[in-house]
Structure formats: structure tokens, C-alpha cells
Symmetry: C2
Subunit: 396 residues, 2 copies
Amino acid sequence: MGENVAIVGVGHTKFGVRNDVNMPELAWEAIKQALMDAGLEQKDIEYVVVSNAGGWSSEPLPAVVIAEYSGLAPKGTVRVEAACASGSAAVKLAHDIVASGHVDIAMAVGIEKMNESPTPTVVEFIGRAGNYFWEFHNFGLTFPGYYALYATAYMDKYGATEEDLCKVAVKSHYYGARNPKAQFQKEITVEKCMASRYIAWPLKLFDCSPITDGATAVIVANEKVAKELTDTPVWIAGIGHATGTSNLSKRTTFTSLEAGTLAAELAYKKAGIDMDDPTKVIDVAEVHDCFTIAEILAYEDLRFAKRGEGVKLVREEQTYIGGKIPVNLSGGLKAKGHPIGATGEGMIAELTNQLRNKVEKDRQAPIKNGYALAHNIGGTGHYAYITILSLSKPRR
Amino acid sequence: MGENVAIVGVGHTKFGVRNDVNMPELAWEAIKQALMDAGLEQKDIEYVVVSNAGGWSSEPLPAVVIAEYSGLAPKGTVRVEAACASGSAAVKLAHDIVASGHVDIAMAVGIEKMNESPTPTVVEFIGRAGNYFWEFHNFGLTFPGYYALYATAYMDKYGATEEDLCKVAVKSHYYGARNPKAQFQKEITVEKCMASRYIAWPLKLFDCSPITDGATAVIVANEKVAKELTDTPVWIAGIGHATGTSNLSKRTTFTSLEAGTLAAELAYKKAGIDMDDPTKVIDVAEVHDCFTIAEILAYEDLRFAKRGEGVKLVREEQTYIGGKIPVNLSGGLKAKGHPIGATGEGMIAELTNQLRNKVEKDRQAPIKNGYALAHNIGGTGHYAYITILSLSKPRR
């Protein structure tokens, strides 16, 4: 399986409305943090993968604008897009070039400035993210509408309620309130969530992740370099990836994301984790809660709960610290924010710091087995990338 | 250096105005050819990298639309953009995942349907490809304008003339006329080129590559699979990549593309090719002639000629078959066409067939040493990807 690959540095800006900086300035905030974290300089980085869904920036070549501004040029670069999973795809591609032995050190940089565009532009862009021709143009579905279909199917089949969905949001805001980098740092109640306006029934405002600006960075290195740089390399133990049909009309189920399920199986297999109960091994996870229903589907697709029992984890508060498996201690997409292209590296940066016991004490997971999992979905299960991190060097 | 990686199948649609098909249909034409060429089925492909600069398609997630339509889902996919070098970046990333040992077979698919948008949209998009804020917005430079700066600098320093530039176009059209996949299949004369209207002085209409629709595909596999599939694997012997400054105002020279020069050095080093005279080893090359001046700069950046002497190769017709090194026997971007995201895989598909002695006889290079080189530039030297192919298995 080529070289072992470890994360040696991460960066994560404050998420939110970031009109205080332009696009390359925002990226540099994250890049600088990651370089300092790794103890590296720009010249040490041999290849740069930039994740950015774009569509709203006036710069069509964000990767070269960032490479020049951040002093990373003349090293090779590329921009990647896997919708909201772009960031995890970027980490995967940076992983591959290091695993191949062709470079020692590579970087993934995630960036999105969604507030550069007026809201209708953002809403239209995201609404097209699926199949434009059939589902957006012909039926007028918006992005919350896509996930609302999943929510109603799940509620119908398993008896989940709108209150259950709101409980997911309450947890996200609980931990977001403890994360200085989160867009929303205020706790909410089920009542407040239930009283918020409908965006696409049954999803209300507090069921939806926000429009966010942010940048994130992850530096990966091979074993030799990683051991020179740090005593606590965080190894990439397994990556799984899968693609769902473009048209939701061709999906076989609306109570799970098939690509998420498949990517999880692939990632567990690569990492050598028993699929019967991955929560025995995984200490902490970040999952793609673009909407509250998505977090519940993620529990089941990841086998943290049996089919139909994801909602029980919510009711029993089993995904808070101290429960069966703590999830989204960052605040998740819901409260930390969701700057599309930066979300994946943001999950992986958060989990790297969780494994290093380096996040704020009141949201630090107990690290027992040293495994963490990032579940990152693009579109409505159009892309799925799952990344398993470990404090133990991968078995070969 | 991980696993050896070979090209085992290529596909290349007719380039031109392709209003006869929609985007996924066009992609499938190339994918089907590549699968048949390799003797593989969709289920055999383990990861798909789609190169597409986009900006004009109504589908913001082309990779998933193509994956569903072509039967490649549920395998993992991602879209990449490196401006006009997107296709070579896609091949590089497909190469990396195979070289890393994590999959046996991967595919790069290039696609662009530029004629879906009205011409002013295309011209604006390309004009932004560099640094939007400083150079497009503040100074109003268009894309031909950027390369015109290089043309005037080269003409001033080395005494090249507009007729010299036209001679490049004459060669492109000569070979394009012999390539059934080319957008333009008519020969032209220096007189006809000289009489064409100025787009950005000194560049005239016939100095410029056209707006093109097209799709291309390249399947790569590791050594074990490649040897099972074919008696003539075409090995990827070396890849070089580099990034130029976003702002042309920060370049140190206008008579070469620094990123192209650097990427060439890296690629030659990886492939073990003597940089003093690479034409001793390389039998045939495709270079990035988005404008005629760019082909001359490429000769020098690639060390096919000394600085200032690229124009001599043109005057002496040394880049026709029978000369020092045949270049752009496909017709190049100029006559074969330049569907941005598909150009890189198109170059590599062409060279794969050249090395296999499988192109039309009147444009087939004599294959002596078994090396071929693809030089693919994004923007005005913003991205550079150089890929060296070989009939001999790479030395380890």
C-alpha cells in the first residue's frame, strides 16, 4: 500500500462571515497555522491540492491565486471539487501523492467565501448540485428540499419526529458554543428550534447548516518525515470513497445515503476495523450534518447504530461526550459552519486535534483506542469520502 | 516510487462544435472508447478523476452526472481544475492513486462543452483565468492579450516575426487536415494566416486556438494488471508540475513560462532523460499551443532548442515529421481544438497511440527510442504539467 502517510500539521480559521479578509488572505490564515503546527516552511511543501467548489468567486483559478499569495508557488497545484466533500477529496489526493512515494510532503487547503455572492446565487448553485437538468430545472427542487425527502422518508419509516431532528441541532449548538472557531457559539433549545420557520418541511431553519466563509489546511507526510517532525503523527489509516447517482430518482432508498454506506465499508476494510461495531474502536467522529436528518442517516450508514435506530442515539444523548460515541464535538456543519470547500479539511483538522488531546477541555473526547472518523458527503449523497485517522501506525 | 503505472486504454472524441450530444453523452463517447481499448468494463474502474474547467455548464457537479450516465458509479470520483492543464492534472492524480497501491485501475476523463455558453461568457471566463482582480478587472486584459505580451517580448528580443508565428499555425493545420478527430481539417498558408484579423496584436485569428467541445479518457493500471491486459503498455515515466505567479506583473521574464521550464526539469529528472538534449530520446511531443507563440516558448522551455532559437525550429521546419523532433502531429490545440478540461488527456491519448504506431499513417511519427512528451499549460503559465510516456518500463 505504498508509503504510510501521517498528518503533521493542521490549520483552521474562524468560520463565519469573513468580510474582513479576501480569499487568499483567508486561505493564508489556515496555511500559516498548518505550517507552524508542522514546523515547516512553504518551500518544504511539494504539492498543493486546493479544494474549492467555487461558482461565487470572481477568481476562476483560486489555487494559483492562493499559491502566489501564500508563497507556495512554484510548487505544483490543482483545484478539486467534490461538492461539499471537496475537502476530504483534497486530503485523499494529497495522501495519494505521498503514499506513491513521489513526494515526501503535500498539503490540502480548503477555502470557500460563500458570502461573496448574494444569497440567491448561493441557493441556486447549491440547488443545482445534484442533477440540474432533471431535478432543479424541471422540478424546481432546492437543496434543503432534497434532504427534506430523506427526512420525511425516515420519519415515515421509523417514527422519528421533528423534535428528534431538533435534538441533533441542540447538540451541535451545545458544542459550537464551546468552540471559538464556530460560526454559531450560542446554545439553543428544542423549543427554539421547533419555533423556527420552515425552510423545506419538515426541515426548519435550525435544521440547516449556514452559509459560511472559512479556510482549513492539512499537511501530510511520509513516515520518515513525520517521525522527524513530531512525536504524535496522526496516521491516515483508511480512506473510503463512493459516488451516488446524480438523479435522486434513481436511488433505491431514501432512508440512507448509499454512497455513504459503501464508502464507510471501504474505509473500515482499509483500516482493519470490525464493521459489526465500529464504536468499539472509534473514539470520536465528525459527520456531515448539512441538515439534522443527515446526521441521523450518517449514524446508520457508519454502523454506529442499526438501521432505524440512529434516532435512538439522539434521544438517549449517546453522541454527546460520555455516550456510546461522541459526534461533532466541533459543533458540526450546523453550528461550526459549512464553507463547502473547506469543510472536509476542517473535519480532519478537528479530529487530528481531538486525537492529540488539543481541543478545548469541555469538548475534548476521551481518547482511548486512538481512532477517529471523518464522514464527508457531497451533494445529497452524490459524493462520499470517509477518512479514518489513527494514533497507531497502520498495519501493513 | 510506488507501483509502476501504465496507460492501458485511451479514448478521444471528435473535437469541434458538438451540439449533437449533451455533456454526459459526449463524455461517454470517450469513456467507451477507452474501455474497449483496454478490454475493461465499468466495474473494473476503481476511481475516476474528471477534469473540467466548467463555468459554462448548467451542471455544477459534472463528475457525478458523468459517473451515473456512464455506469461508473458507485466508484469514487472527483472533479479537478488546473485551467487548461486540467486534463494532465487528472492523469497525474489517477497515476498517483495507482502508484500508491491503493487501487489497481483508475481513469481520467476530460470534458468540456464550451459552446454551451455564448461566446462573450467564454471570453470573459478565460480572461479571468490569471488574476481576475488586478489584471482582468483593473486593466481589462483578455486571454489573447496575455499571450500577446509574450509574443511582443519574444519578437523584440529575438527578432521573430508575425510570419514566423503563422508558420506554426500552418504546421498545425497541415497535421489537423490529416486527423479525423480535429476541429479544423483544412490546410492553410502563411498568406491566409497573415491576412486574418487581429485578435490582440500581434496575434491574429489564425494564431489562436478555437472554442471547442470534446471529451477524452485515459485508463491507467499498475504493472500486474497492465501486463495482463496488453502487450504494449505505455508507461508513465515521469511527471513534472509547477505553478506560476497568478499576476503576470510578478513574472521575471516574458520570453519563457517559468512554470513550464521548471515542470520540464522535474519531469526529465523523474524519467531519467538527459536535459542537455531531450530530442535525442523523445520521438514525438504534443505541446500547449493555445497561441502560436506558446508553441515556440514551449520548444525552449522543454530544451528542444536553446533560448531564442525556438523560432529557428519553425523556420527550418524541424518540428514536422522528419525534422529534429515532430511536434503536435495531432494538429495541436490550434487545429485539433482546445476543449479546456479535455486537452490534457487528449494529448496523452494521442501520444499513447503515436507510441503504439496506431495513428493515421501520414501523421505517424517514426518511433525509435519509445519516448513521448505531453506539455500542458494552464492559464498563461499559471499551471504547468508535463508527462513523459515510454514504451520501456521505468527504471527503479
